[in-house]
């Protein structure tokens, strides 16, 4: 423990003086009214002012005063050891990607270095080893007072690229103060081969304090491998002697996690991998993989089109033998495409009904008409149509050019080689450059025996992606709208050529399918500008100032750097991802700097100022002293003592306040009624719903709480399954907000029971409510209504009912006429005039205060049963309307 202002402790010598003062000062007198004061005047005691302050009270007060003095001296617990050496301190911070995970600890370590330097009165210079985003070289700041440097240290952020140790070494050698020492907050990774020189340069300056060693390994999420049915998430880390696990989350563009996998990292292993299986639709919505844990640029991999799975539809000319082994027209296609895409079969309509990237037609002519139009529309929206020639399509060549063929074909086919021919089966020529097949090796074993020929045109060369050695086209293509049509001039099986037997076939198809993203692959040298880049914590943001475009061909080989930060590059419809993990040396642990004093980065307890708790203790002691003084003077009454104790208690645990509890109507099911404003009607409604809830609770397994009065302007209606709405005769048209609230409630499955209370005998009790109903229902989305009959679900949702009496009976009850599947065919509104609430109402002693008309216990029971049916209807929908129950219900009706 040390004191920030030790000179204050001199005041402790005042304590004896204070003790003497306290002893000679008598306690304050009590005050008494006394009528016989005249007899007391002038009566002076012989014994004046004895010192009656008890010794323990004196000790208490002196202790409180001593606490105050010590607190004002600002004692500090756990003060860090001061730094060695003299002169300025160079604070070196690794702020590359590996530092992001525990950046708060590093910032705290940096702050503690600044505090120590400030206490020692030394100036500080800052050297961040990772270049910042402005393109400025790595350099140390000038030495300045710690207070001036503190904002810069606070503003320092981790970068999404590795630290530049070589440049930092240059900066270190350039920093030449007189004397000085180094505080180095290391990220513990080698990064490159310049670490030894870097460490030597650190040691050359002066004594080194190294804050070292992250508690968790710094993991890097590598770009996943794409397989047909899964993404393979890969994680790299410095090898560790114990096996660990990492969790990888697959997220969509809106940040939702669509998949999750656990990557096991065995002991002493540098990498681990795990598959992530997702349906193609979900997989194609992924935009990033994230390593669960503290956010950093290394824990994010952005996914671009390269990882999209493209469903391929296959369609053969004859559906019967298309998958026959070694002979079927789709047999080879399935095996070539299956491993890396999702292959779908079926008829053309079924295929086009779902999302489809590529459609392969193997020797299947397309008839002009609806089929051709549908296909053409699909292609022009961006589909890739791959067609294979064959005997059938060779026959079908007509006079009109087929829009779904890239070239106009000549009728018939051409046979190369054979018993009656002098020429030999043709070989492939090299693929033209600037085609998708560019760079594929030519398979020598491929021979083409037969092909269909295109009518020569001027742009035939541009349309040809692959040709035979004699120059005749093997693969031709033509764009159609946003899509493309590709024609293989041979069959998809081995009848006409060896191509399907070759590995080249697989590569060609893979290139073609990769083409199908709807994105024309950018040319090799196209510069892709940075669009959004990751910051040090793995968040996408605007690119830094130093970020520059890079050629598309190099995006997979470029290491993350200030010039090329990780992120998304290119135009909006063809973003390419540059990932930090793509080109990154395997993370290896770095040794510590030789001769450095090692300080832990993590369990360095922060300095604790003891002043505030000491002051609080002094205040408590003084409060206690006040209580004791009051007690000694006899003024301590229970109320005052309680108040003082309360005060002291509120000082001590100020944070132990429980949150305020508010009534929440969503916690239990309850009925509600819409407040009419007439206290009599509202009272009946409340009593009625109370009676009904009671009845329902007794007779059914539904558990209803006490009903609520609901004001649609304020309350959230969605928690009430059923609202009872008695119409007052003076009701006025509703304000728009209330109309909107009620319409929303009805459209989302709520039920409103509207009661005009004027049915039958009730016409005299509640005159004018029908006109009032007409007024209030203006603007309400009430569907067309029809009288409810015995076939309605409401008549059998719990009890079997023939009519729906309330206090009155006689007139029909109305519900929605049409079945609305959206709301489970439940009518959003029930309209009637039977004054049900009055029939259901019970008073405090459990009796029914309102007689039913025309009367009888039977009517009361039926009214309750209607209520139960209504509650069940509101809670279970048309469950009882299922046809399954009709026979049983009919049977019971028959009895």
């Amino acid at each position: 423990m040390s004191f920030a202002e030790p000179w204050v402790l001199v005041a402790l010598i005042l304590l004896p003086i204070l003790a003497w003062l306290l002893r000679v000062t008598p306690p304050a007198p009590r005050r008494e009214d006394f009528p016989a004061i005249r007899l007391l005047l002038g009566l002076n005691a012989t014994e004046e002012t004895p010192s009656r302050t008890p010794w323990w009270l004196l000790a208490l007060r002196i202790l409180a005063a001593g606490l105050v003095i010590v607190a004002l001296a600002r004692p500090v617990l756990d003060a860090a050891v001061s730094m060695q050496g003299g002169g300025p301190v160079l604070l070196v911070i690794d702020n590359g990607w590996a530092s992001a995970a525990d950046w708060p600890n590093r910032a705290q370590a940096a702050a503690s270095v600044l505090e120590r330097a400030e206490r020692a009165g030394r100036s500080v210079a800052l050297l961040a080893t990772a270049a910042d985003g402005s393109g400025a070289p790595v350099a140390a700041t000038v030495a300045m007072p710690a207070a001036d440097l503190r904002p810069r240290v606070t503003a320092l952020q981790p970068r999404p690229w590795p630290p530049d140790r070589a440049a930092a070494t240059t900066a270190l050698t350039a920093w030449k103060p007189n004397g000085g020492s180094v505080a180095y907050i290391a990220d513990g990774l080698l990064h490159d081969d310049a670490f030894d020189r870097f460490a030597a340069a650190l040691g050359a300056i002066g004594p080194v304090v190294e804050f070292c060693c992250a508690a968790e390994p710094q993991r890097v999420l590598l770009p996943p491998g794409g397989e047909a049915d899964r993404l393979v998430a890969r994680v790299a880390q410095p090898p560790r002697p114990v096996a660990t696990e990492a969790v990888v989350l697959a997220q969509s563009g809106d940040g939702r996690t669509l998949g999750r996998t656990t990557v096991a990292l065995p002991a002493n292993a540098a990498t681990g991998a795990a598959g992530l299986i997702l349906p193609p639709e979900l997989r194609n919505r992924l935009t990033r993989l994230v390593l669960q844990g503290p956010p950093s640029a290394a824990s994010v991999v952005l996914l671009d089109e390269r990882w999209r799975l493209r469903p391929v539809g296959l369609l053969a000319g004859d559906r019967t033998g298309d998958d026959a082994p070694f002979a079927g027209s789709l047999y080879y296609l399935r095996r070539a495409l299956g491993p890396f895409t999702e292959v779908r079969g079926g008829d053309l309509e079924g295929l086009l009904a779902r999302e489809l990237s590529v459609l392969v037609l193997a020797d299947r002519p397309v008839a002009p008409g609806a089929e051709q139009d549908a296909l053409l529309a699909w292609v022009e929206k961006g589909g890739l149509l791959i067609r294979f020639a064959g005997p059938r399509s060779a026959r079908e060549v007509g006079a009109d050019p087929d829009p779904l063929l890239p070239v106009k074909l000549l009728a018939g086919d051409r046979q190369l080689g054979g018993a009656l021919s002098w020429n030999e089966p043709a070989r492939l020529s090299a693929f033209p450059t600037a085609t998708p097949f560019d760079g594929l090796p030519i398979a020598d074993e491929v021979r083409i025996n037969r092909q269909v020929l295109a009518e020569p045109t001027a742009d035939m060369a541009a349309r040809t992606w692959a040709a035979l050695s004699d120059g005749t086209p093997l693969v031709t293509q033509a764009p159609r709208g946003a899509g493309r049509v590709v024609l293989f001039h041979v069959t998809a099986n081995a009848d006409w050529s060896h191509l399907p037997l070759s590995g080249l076939f697989v590569d060609m198809l893979r290139r073609l399918v990769a083409l199908s993203v709807g994105v024309v692959v950018a040319g090799d040298a196209t510069l892709l500008a940075p669009a959004e880049t990751l910051d040090g914590f793995g968040l996408l943001s605007a690119p830094p100032a130093a970020a520059t475009p890079l050629p598309a061909e190099q995006i997979a080989r470029t290491a993350a750097s200030p010039r090329h930060p990780p992120g998304l590059y290119g135009p909006e419809n063809g973003r390419r991802a540059l990932n930090l993990g793509a080109v990154l040396p395997a993370p290896l642990p770095a040794p510590t700097v030789p001769n450095a004093t090692i300080e832990p980065l993590f369990d360095s307890a922060p300095e604790q100022a003891l002043g505030p708790p000491l002051l609080a203790a002094a205040v408590l002691l003084l409060a206690l002293d006040m209580l004791v003084s009051l007690a000694l003077r006899g003024l301590l009454r229970p109320r005052i003592a309680g108040l003082a104790l309360l005060l002291a208690a509120s000082l001590a645990p100020a944070h132990a306040q429980s949150p305020e509890v508010t009534a929440n109507p969503a916690l239990s099911t309850r009925l509600g009624y819409i407040v009419s404003g007439d206290p009599r009607i509202d009272g009946i409604a409340l009593a009625g719903l109370r009676g009904l809830s009671d009845y329902v609770n007794r007779r059914t397994s539904a558990a209803l709480s006490d009903p609520d009065a609901v004001d649609p302007d304020r309350a959230d209606l969605s928690v009430y399954p059923l609202l009872y709405w008695p119409i007052a005769d003076d009701a006025q048209p509703l304000p728009p907000a209330r109309i909107a609230a009620l319409n929303t409630y009805m459209s989302r499955g709520g039920i409103i029971l509207i009661d005009t209370r004027d049915s039958g005998s009730g016409a005299g009790f509640a005159p004018g409510t029908e006109a009032a109903l007409r007024r209030v229902s203006q603007g309400l989305a009430i569907p067309p209504l029809a009288p409810l009959g015995t076939d309605h679900v409401l008549s059998r949702s719990f009890y079997l009912l023939n009519d729906f009496p309330g206090r009155f009976t006689g007139e029909p009850v109305w519900g929605q006429r049409d079945q609305d599947r959206a709301n489970d065919s439940v009518s959003p509104v029930i309209v009637g005039g039977n004054d049900w609430a009055a029939a259901w109402a019970i008073d405090a002693s459990g009796r029914n205060p309102y007689a039913v008309l025309p009367g009888g216990q039977r009517q009361r029971v039926l009214a309750y049963r209607f209520g139960v049916n209504l509650v069940m209807y509101a809670l279970t929908g048309n469950y009882k309307g299922d046809q399954v129950h009709v026979p049983a219900i009919l049977q019971r009706l028959g009895q």
Binding site: E32, F34, P35, I37, R38, L39, L40, L43, G634
Partner: protein, 309 residues
């Protein structure tokens, strides 16, 4: 502790009821009066001269002008003389009622009680005054309240049912002087004073002297709170008077308790001496003692029965 003033007939009715209940245990009080104030009111005190009354006083020779109805025919016949010389008229003694003037101290120092008792001194004074008045009225005497202000408050009250009116007058009297006001009193009347009489003795001597000069006689009852008698406080206390008469800081009250008791004794002795000199009776009453004892001592001191028999 000063309590709010109790106005209104309801409070006085409760006071009256309690006072009557206390007084009911004693027989009606007939005042011992050697000389009776000259009032026209019929009473029980003979004035040793001819006048209206029930008691026989003397026979007197009939002179012309006397009413024939007043002739005592038996005495006339006994005399044996001829009419009208032998005619005697029967004369009765003039009997009059004594007027008792009552006063109680209503000042702020009376509206106080210590924590040990629940009733302040003025309430006790009111109670005793009403109880005494009830006894007097039942005895046929006249009662009058000494109060400054209007004549309504200073009327004389007689008859058994005058107590209510007296209680009303008492409630209406809000005088807060610690000395009775200087009103004219009937000569040879009686005065009963209730109060704490903590004022300087000179003031009280002047007061009693004024009464003796009228002349009236009477009784002085000093009503004290037990705290005023015993000074039961401890420790360091600042005492404050209730009538702007200063305050004093006593460092240790327990040390001056004896000195205070001496001073109080001196005051009471002084009061007794003053009263004895003027023919007044003097008594002390503590509010924690039952009111019946004070009433009994008043009864015996004022009562005529003891002195006449």
């Amino acid at each position: 502790m000063a309590e709010p003033v109790r106005p209104g007939p309801l409070a006085s009715r409760a006071d009256t009821a309690r006072a009557e209940a206390i007084g009911a245990r004693l027989p009606p009080l007939l005042l011992a009066a050697d000389r009776v104030a000259a009032t026209v009111a019929q009473g029980v005190h003979g004035r040793r001269r001819v006048g209206q009354g029930d008691s026989f006083w003397q026979f007197c020779r009939f002179v012309t002008g006397d009413s024939l109805q007043r002739i005592d025919w038996r005495q006339s016949a006994k005399s044996g003389r001829t009419p009208p010389d032998g005619w005697f008229v029967r004369e009765t003694e003039w009997e009059a009622a004594q007027t008792v003037c009552l006063w109680r101290d209503g000042s702020a120092s009376m509206r106080w009680h210590s924590r040990a008792v629940a009733e302040d001194k003025r309430d006790r004074a009111n109670l005793l005054l009403l109880a005494l008045a009830s006894l007097l009225l039942r005895g046929g005497e006249r009662v009058r309240l000494i109060a400054d202000g209007n004549a309504q408050a200073t009327r004389a009250i007689e008859g058994r049912f005058g107590l209510e009116r007296l209680a009303g007058d008492l409630a209406a009297d809000q005088g807060d002087t610690s000395m009775p006001p200087d009103v004219s009193l009937p000569r040879h009347g009686a005065v009963v004073l209730f109060g704490d009489f903590l004022s300087p003795l000179d003031d009280i001597r002047a007061l009693i002297g004024r009464f003796a000069a009228v002349p009236v006689t009477g009784y002085m009852l000093q009503i004290l709170d037990p705290a005023e008698t015993l000074l039961p406080y401890r420790g360091r206390i600042r005492f404050r008077g209730l009538e702007q008469d200063g305050d004093t800081l006593i460092p240790r009250v327990e040390t001056i308790r004896d000195a205070y008791a001496d001073r109080l004794k001196a005051q009471q002795d002084g009061l007794a001496a003053i009263c004895a000199a003027a023919g007044f009776g003097f008594g002390v009453h503590r509010t924690d003692h039952p009111p019946e004892t004070a009433l009994l001592s008043l009864y015996t001191a004022l009562g005529a029965t003891a002195s006449r028999r």
